[in-house]
């Protein structure tokens, strides 16, 4: 397990390889669909992402008794929807770590290689576990504009776990798995179905 603590410097990030398990601590900012559209429209970013982490996440958050925020569930959302925007976002902001699920496209992978950034896969659906790793909510931006599920939340996390699935050297675990599965599908579909039904029905 490699430990990453905010701020994330380029050397540390470039030292990571696809397949490395990581534990992240310190500040991370959420941002998903509407945030990326906001960025693409040229509107001002609410926080500084240099050497920071962007988390594709729309959490369940409620007000607590003291007027602060309580995070109930905060797992990753699917990252592919941000493919059109992410290469520009990486180039413009100097963000070092993108956390999400499902991976991103070849253009994003190329931007990660050029600028020194990695993609960390969190486990989709594990909302309660990731909420437990949010030690505190330091603030929130664009809440009125986007609503709670799309706002930019400022999370201070402790031992937030994931796997480096796209590194800054051009390797993506998702591309490897997808290509292998397509090859296996092609060979599976070469077999004829009808014969097999007969044999399995007779078994």
């Amino acid at each position: 397990m490699k430990r990453l603590t905010f701020p994330f410097d380029e050397r540390t990030v470039r030292g990571l390889r696809a397949g490395d398990a990581v534990s992240i601590s310190g500040r991370i900012y959420t941002g998903r669909d509407r945030f990326h559209k906001w960025f693409a429209d040229g509107k001002p970013l609410p926080v500084c992402y240099r050497d920071g982490a962007l988390y594709h996440c729309g959490p369940v958050v409620v007000r607590d008794e003291e007027g602060g925020w309580r995070v109930m569930a905060a797992g990753p959302t699917t990252s592919v929807r941000e493919n059109p925007y992410e290469p520009d976002f990486i180039a413009a902001t100097g963000v070092r770590v993108i956390i999400g699920k499902g991976g991103m496209d070849a253009r994003t992978l190329a931007a990660m290689r050029e600028h020194g950034c990695v993609y960390v896969q969190a486990v989709g659906g594990a909302g309660a576990l990731y909420a437990a790793s949010v030690a505190s909510v330091a603030g929130v931006s664009l809440l009125d504009e986007f609503g709670a599920a799309e706002a930019v939340w400022h999370f201070d996390v402790s031992d937030f776990r994931g796997v480096v699935a796209m590194d800054s050297h051009g390797r993506s675990l998702f591309e490897d798995v997808a290509a292998a599965s397509e090859r296996r599908l092609a060979s599976t579909c070469r077999k004829c179905y009808t014969d097999d039904t007969r044999s399995s029905a007779g078994r």
Partner: protein, 276 residues
Amino acid sequence: MSLTEKIVELIRETSSSLPDDVLRALRGALRRERAGSSASVVLGTILDNCALAAKRGVPLCQDTGMLVFFVHESLRRRVTPDLLGRAVALATERGYLRRNTIDPVSGKSFDDNCAEGVPAVRYCDRPGVTLIMKGGGSENMSRQYSLPDSSLGAGRDLEGVRRCLLDAVVRAQGYGCAPGVLGVCIGGDRAVGYEVAKEQLLRPLDASGVSGDQKLRALERRVLREANSLGIGPMGLGGGITLLGVRIAARPRVPASFFVTVAYMCWAARRRTMMP
């Protein structure tokens, strides 16, 4: 406890605890993946998450999804859409549901998760009140095929259906939060296809949920085995378990149409029934 509070409790339990058959399937998957592989780490994380959410009574996944209530006909007068809406609003206020309902035209959030047609309510002959919560990541991986489909080499027979289902699995990769479940409808019109495919997700993953039709049962088994040989694995990071189950139903079609509809459900297959 008032009926509204009972429905709030149904929502909380559905959001925080998976059904036993799904948990058993996930534990079985963990046993079959190699210890230390990323597949086993992902499944271990999933099971830890489920235990924590159930213990704390908090949503196990932040995407609390589109809520569909199936209510028995005889309860039509007691379990009204208004009452269900009030329960949903309360559950949202208490953090059991995300503010998850967006006006597609204005972009504004309906902060109490109530709007026209939301939550969805279907009066039917299923006993009691059943709730299913399906997140957007998996819904985005659902799809509908129209046979014949020459790009898949899929004709109008069960071999064609099989090709569609395996294609859906490969296209979904890990995006729909694998290991998932396929709810499938063969036939129907387009609307019936999606409705019936989603209803199949209410069938348990254990032996009690397999199709009563011998041909469909064989196809369910075959597609499950073949999908799990593709190597996609939990969250698409590779591994031997890509699906937890396949549940297929058939509905009549017209001569001109042959639809195959796939409702892709994530591993967080949240469903629960209560008797009011």
